[in-house]
Structure formats: structure tokens, C-alpha cells
Amino acid sequence: MTNQSIAMRDAFGQALVNLADKYDKMVVLDADVSSSTKTIEFGKIKPERFLNVGVAEANMVDIAGGLATCGLRPIVSTFAIFLALKCTDQIRNVVCYNNLPVIFVGGYAGLSDSFDGASHQSVTDLAIMRAMPNMTVLVPGDPTEVQTALEIALENNGPTYIRLSRNPSPILFEKQPLMEISKNRKLSNGSDITMAVCGIPTFMAIEATEKLMKLGVSVDLLQVSTLKPLDIDSLITSVSKTGKILTIEEHSVIGGLGGAIAEALGKHCPVKMDYIGIEDVFAESGPYPELMAKYGISVNAIVDRVKNSMEK
């Protein structure tokens, strides 16, 4: 880990610019939030392939569906909350039902739109997107993974959801091999407990692992960047060794990473499980780190939860 941070949305804007010439069929659509999501950076260099459709998200998704039927590669961008909730019908009935290669980039996901409050905080998008047949679901864990996720999506012949955060995230994987689809990244070897994490809390899980090691608890830490299709094998290998798992995500504990892993392990290798995420509640306005901590997502929360589980 370095001390350097980059905002996930800036990494996204830059990735679009970097890939603009390589993928000449790429069309970027945004719904009047391009200055926030940073798709405007693409609009500046490729105005003819940038469509700002106004505050009409459902229409935007179906326009993208129409573009995809004609061989273009649309990237639909807005806040995750609006994409997952205002366009569910369009994503299901037009894009996923027809297996069209449309890329959805949900920005400001989790609690990252912290000051705007619960109306803007997206903690059910993974549950919704994961439930759609044909959908691939990617969650980059640091800014360096954003462009790789986008390239994976551009090479995928069906719909892809990429979940992004608004805020700065430490660079974690600059010197590591590139993110791969359906391949969990092993971040620490241990035998007492497995931890599986996705998205922004990845850096917290790394710090918590270091603290726990000092307390004599050895953690097998996996970062999951593809929620669907899930890399089940590495999870089975890990829990076969540790016998228990804690999942960590910036999402409701219902239906996200924890849900996906519970479904898989429940069937193939049942072990004791615990979940860190937003409990079944609406959060509130506040500064991002404090908000995350209040709703149970922090280094200390992870350490405490593991300590508790070890005592049982």
C-alpha cells in the first residue's frame, strides 16, 4: 500500500479518456451528472460519442440498448442509486433479457455520497444487479482497478455492472498483477479466519489484517472484484483451511457480497459466517469516514468482530 490516493471517479474519467481511441465503438451516456461522475472528460475529447440525455435515466438505459443492437458499445453512467432503482425495468427487460453488451457504471455507490444523505446512498445496487440473469458484476478495490474493470467489461459480450465510489481510495495494487475477471486476489495468508472484502473497504481489511496478526490472529484475506460470476473455488480452499469467514462490504448485509458468498458456501462448503455491511437500515448525512464508522464499516469494527468470533 502507498500513501497516495486517487478518487475513484477521477480514475474512471481518466480511464474513459485512455480507452477512447482503442475502442472506437464506445459511446458514453450520462444523465446530467457528468461533471460529478467525470464522464465529462470523455465528452470533452469525443463530443460526437457522448450523449447527455438529461435527468431521464430510464430513457438513457434503453437508448443504450438500442445502440448496442447496432454494434456500438455504450457505457451508461450515473449515480448507482438511480441506475439500480430508476432503471431496473430497463436493465432487466431490454439489456439483460437480450444479453446486450451495455456497461453500467454506478458512481457514488455505497455511502460515498455521504453528505447528500440516504436519498443518494446506494446500498442495495449489488443485490439488484446480481439478481439479473446475464449480468456480470465488478467491484474495483482501488483506483488502479478501475480501468482494468472497464476493459474487462468492453471485452465482455453481455451486460456488465461496475460499482464505483465517489471518494479517494488509497492505491493498493499498482505493483500487483492486473485484476482478472472471476479471480479473487489473495492479500494475506492465514489459518484462523477467512475475510472476503470488496470495494473501498479493501484497504480497511488490509489494515485490520495487520492489526490482527499482531494480536496473534492469522487472517486469510481475499479481495473479491467479481461478484458475479463469483470465484467460488478460492473461497472453498480458504474456508476449508480456516473453518470460518467474515465478509466486508459497503452495501446492505442483504444480497451483496455476503449474500453471494453465503449462497455459494452454503451449497458447497458450509462454515460459520459473519457479515460486515450496512445493517437493514437507512443511513444519514455526514463526513464519509465517520459515517462509515457509525454504520459499522471501519478497521476497528473489523478487528472487534474477528476478536469476538475467535472467542466463541
Binding site: L51, G54, A56, A58, N59, I63, G66, G71, L72
Partner: protein, 302 residues
Amino acid sequence: MVKTEIKRIDSQKLLKETNLSKKAALLQYLAQQCRIDVFDILHEKGTGHWGGAASAAELITTLYFHIMKVRPNEPEWAERDRFVLSKGHASTMLYTVLSNRGYFPQSELSTFRTLNSRLQGHPCMNKTPGVEMSTGALGHGLSVTLGMALSAQLLKKKFWSFVLLGDGCLNEGQTWEAIMAAAKFKPERLVLMIDYNKVQLDGNSDEIMPLDPLPEKLKAFNWTVAPKVYDGNMVSDIIQSWEWMQKQTDWPLAVIYKTHKGKGVSFMEDNHKWHGAPIDEDNYAKGRPELLKTLKDLEVQS
């Protein structure tokens, strides 16, 4: 009831007809023939939507046999004109016209709504050759077709993009989002066709959700709207509307067609009860002779 066989038109020969009024008469006959096939299938299956399918017989027939450039033996031909049936419940009419046009055998029509069939209750683009977009949930068609028209612009292609909406799609907020967006981007050769029978599922649109004054609304949204409301159950009128479309340069275009839901069976016409009710023995026996008589009359004319 014994099903009287009908005299079938040679639809491939019809395509080559160069005399326009002769062709219009042949198309009017073909549309009625398709209407009878739909009536038969819906009766046989006891499931599906009669009202909206009958309403659109002439529109869909004229599109595929006169207006659109398509290659049924090469359904994915990149330059083809696009048609999206936004009112997907009229699927049987689309399937019947597509099979007549040569996309798949007519014998397949009777598999409608059965297990393993390519003919789903509502159109599915990945199952049925010729279907450009899966529809069924109302309100998607115009947005998707706008995406197709924008593709033509981006890819520097000249194909037309047609979409057929009923009253129901025009109740949906998304359609009005698309109406605004289309007027912003103004892609060439985008045509919104409205099957304006003014009857929905629960009742007349005037009582469910009034849409008038519809032409004025579309004009106010900066669309080029056809100067008259055409008769959408009259092929010669639909051909006239196509003549008008081809002369336009200000996009997008909207054309309103006055139609009759359940057209062709007097006691089913303009009656919301026949939106999706199964056609039982009694009503089939009463209705079919009416459809046959019209077909016979059209034969005399053609």
C-alpha cells in the same frame, strides 16, 4: 366449428407488384389474411391479445411489404430498416407478418405460447428471427428505437428506424423522456408511428388517461408531425403517409394513425373487453364469418 380454409395470397409475388394502387389492394387483402390467421391462433391457443393485434394489421403488413428494406434470409443485414413493436402484446400480428415475409415457416405460428417455441407471448429478439427488440413491458420502444436511429447517425448508415406505440406506451413517463431526447438529438429517419385506437386495457383512453390533443403535444415537443391523421386500417392511407415521410428533412417524425381496436369483428371493435380476453367457441363462430366476408370483398377489389 369447421374452419373454412381461406384463399391465400402469393406474398412473394405481391412484393414485386409495381402498380401502386394494385399493390395497395393486395396488401389490404394480405393484412386481412393475417388478421384471420391471428384470430385462428388466438382461438386455438385460448391465450394472447386480439384487440391490439387486429388494430395494427395494416400498419405492420405495409411496413414489412412496402416500406421497409429488409432481407428475411439475412435478418442481421447491417443496413436493414428497423421496426420495434413497442406494444409487444400485439406479438401475434408481428409473427404472422414476419412468417409471411419469409423469416420463418408459417407452420410455426401454431407453436405460439407453447413450451420450447420461438414465438414467446411477447416478442423476444433472441428467439425469433426478424424481431428487432424484445418488448412486453410498455414504454420502452421509443427510447430503444431512438438508440437505433442514433446508431445510424454514428455509424454513417442510412437505415430507417420505425417504432409503433399504442395509447398505453404514451401513458408511460419514459416515452415522454424519449420524446424530449429525440427532439434534442434529431436523428434522421426516426419515425414514431401511433396506433391511435383510443382503447386501452381497462377502458377508453379518454377515461383511463386522456392523450389529446396529441398532435399539438408532439408539435410542442418539437417533433415534425404529419399534417393529417391517417386511417391506419387503410393501406392506401398508410402508403400516403410513407410518401409524406420520405419528403421530410426536419427530424424526428411522428405519424398518428386512427385505428380500431379489434378491427374486423363488429362486436369486438373499440371494446376494451377484447384487449386480451380468450376467444371462446361462441365468439369464434360468430366472429370468423365476418372476417371471411371482408376478405372475400377485398378479393373482388384486387
